[in-house]
């Protein structure tokens, strides 16, 4: 992948994007990871699999999601023309369901009879519990106790959908620890269990597979913007936790050199305070959860705890393809603080009548920062990755949070 005629060729056969990615897992899991790869390769080449996914995308998720011209926000900021890709309108309220449809169909093909997942914001947990209800498969979701507290509505939804939510108290009791616990479950239940990872991370083939399933976002945007504006966008912008909504939007445009891409990380209380989740901006390469990528870690290689008001971004790593795209300087990495995200949350709600997920509010915050400078005529697409219903308690709990 040194000679770059394309940014879309990765990963290589061993799951590497440059030095990133790979399959750093315990031997007990290795045969399973290889089996997932085999099954996915087969499914990917089977038109029936694509048809089945397409069916559920259209009739269950509600795809295509609209591309909406956010006129009042555009006018308010006085610069770029801002479109929202409305992943918040998907069934279950976020982009996470796209990936869950793909993986549950794969798990069924593999004959797996039990699903496990990790979740931070609870959006992936809800999406997983949803497809498990749909296909009548038992489901266990690991979730840090801190996240259980701040995303209570989603915990309730998961339970209603029939999933078992297992609280994780280890470490920082957030997404990273939930992923550790899910991996431990998988090691112990290798025969019947499929691990449904919620973002473009984990061992190969997950980063590639989740990217492929989420690429429907960018594929639709391409068609929709051509229809609406007769040309490709100038700027794409998305928040990144693990990176799945961002990569889903970016991937189909990676080789369109005129399209600028910006990934917005969570700066928490500010990168300079050390309390943040900006692994691309402030981390260093390392190996965790099955792949090499940028990680928040200390000089001894111990993983640091991430901090973000948004549970879905509160992760000390990032998908390996993003690490590679960062080094290749194809995607720009910026960040937004908790305060900026909350401010953008309110602004978007009042101007557009759209309550964004706190994750997506980070992307809105950065749009607020750059829209004027981009100038009129700049066509910008922001991935509205999810809706904010789940965050109302968090926002209401802040000083001045109640309207």
């Amino acid at each position: 992948m040194e000679t770059l005629n394309t940014y879309r060729a990765g990963p290589d056969d061993n799951g590497h994007f440059g030095i990133y990615g790979g399959r750093y897992v315990a031997e007990t899991l290795m045969p399973l990871v290889l089996a997932v790869e085999r099954a996915y390769t087969e499914a990917r080449n089977d038109p029936a699999f694509a048809r089945e996914m397409g069916y559920y995308f259209t009739h269950y998720v509600g795809r295509p999601s609209p591309l909406y011209l956010a006129r009042r926000l555009t006018d308010h900021l006085g610069g770029a023309t801002i479109y929202f890709k409305r992943e918040d309108l998907n069934h279950t309220g976020a982009h996470k369901i796209n990936n869950c449809i793909g993986q549950i169909l794969l798990a069924r093909r593999m004959g797996k009879t039990r699903i496990i997942a990790e979740t931070g914001a609870g959006q992936h947990g809800v999406a997983t519990a949803t497809v498990c209800a749909l296909f009548d498969i038992p489901c266990t979701v690991y979730m840090g106790t801190i996240d259980i507290e701040r995303q209570a509505p989603n915990v309730y939804r998961m339970k209603m959908l029939g999933a078992e939510v297992r609280p994780v108290t280890a470490g920082s009791a957030t997404l990273k620890d939930a992923m550790n616990e899910a991996l431990r479950d998988w090691v112990a239940n290798v025969e019947d269990t499929y691990y449904l990872i919620g973002t473009v991370a984990g061992p190969h083939p997950y980063p590639m597979m989740v990217r492929d399933f989420q690429s429907v976002i960018g594929d639709e945007v391409r068609e929709q913007i051509l229809e609406a504006e007769g040309r490709l966008p100038d700027t794409l912008l998305a928040c990144i936790g693990g990176g799945s909504n961002a990569l889903g939007l970016f991937y189909p445009f990676l080789d369109d050199s005129g399209v600028r891409m910006i990934a917005v990380e969570a700066a928490g209380e500010g990168i300079e305070t050390g309390k943040h989740a900006a692994s691309l901006s402030a981390g260093a390469p390392g190996v965790l959860h099955g792949n090499r990528t940028y990680l928040l870690q200390d000089a001894d290689g111990q993983i640091d705890e991430a901090h973000s008001i948004s549970a879905g971004l509160d992760y000390p790593g990032i998908g390996p393809e993003h690490a590679w795209l960062r080094d290749a300087e194809r995607v720009e990495c910026v960040s937004a603080t908790d305060d900026e995200a909350v401010e953008a949350f309110h602004l978007c709600t009042r101007l557009e009548g759209i309550i964004p997920a706190l994750e997506a509010a980070h992307a809105v915050a950065h749009v607020c920062t750059i829209a004027a400078a981009l100038g009129r005529g700049n066509l910008l697409v922001l991935n509205m990755s999810g809706r904010g219903d789940k965050d109302l308690d968090t926002v209401a709990g802040l000083a001045g949070g109640t309207p």
Partner: protein, 282 residues
Amino acid sequence: MSVQTRIDRRFAALKREGRAGLIAFVTAGDPDAGTSREILSGLPGAGADLIELGMPFSDPMADGPAIQASSQRALKAGASLSATLAMVKDFRAADDDTPVILMGYYNPIYVYGVDAFLGDAKAAGVDGLIVVDMPPEEEDELCLPAIEAGVSFIFLTAPTTDDARLPRVLEHTSGFVYYVSITGITGTKSAAIGDVRAAVERLRRHTELPVAVGFGIKTPGQAAAVAAVADAAVVGSALVDTVADNLDEAGKPRPGLAAAVLALVGDLARGVRGARMKGAAQ
């Protein structure tokens, strides 16, 4: 030509004695540096034939609550990879025979720098490495350089490692083969001895190397049963649980902590050695 390593010599000696070995796992720096050194230096005298020294990591994905907690205790008390290497170096000054195998996860090694780490580990007297999240698929990165540097690399084999895959895993394994006797994390379930026997027999069809069995061995009786069918039994969680049991409310070691751990090692060693006596008597 292969140089005889400490690991080779120890397994050859065990073979001459006609018995299996006890491999004791403790986490470096648990519960603090001083107590951990006391435990380490006492292990050979207590009956450990080989030592697995855990390199503490913040996110030990393949470990159960006992070893997770021991890693956390060590890190809280200031453990680091360089401190672990320094510990081995001091141990080696007093004991030039007992093999020391470092066990842990890759990230601290990667951040330390593979070449620097292998050089320092070799110089400190480290004999082998078990790096849980380093499968043969990534062997170029650490396994092959380790062998080049004269440090054995021991891959784990698991019940899920089928006959088709075993040759791949065994290809660059040196020193001994580690069989993870359960599908699961450390310190949880225990395998039925019949399954262990069958698994060891399967491994022996693929390799001449000694076979060590670990995960789920907690009592002298279990250690003895495994010692009757394998070349070594690995005990870890039970030892670090003994560390945990001997801490006060503030998490500080109570007097006699090291002695309690070493007493359990002694019991386990008697179990392992007893397995031979039974075998010899029959």
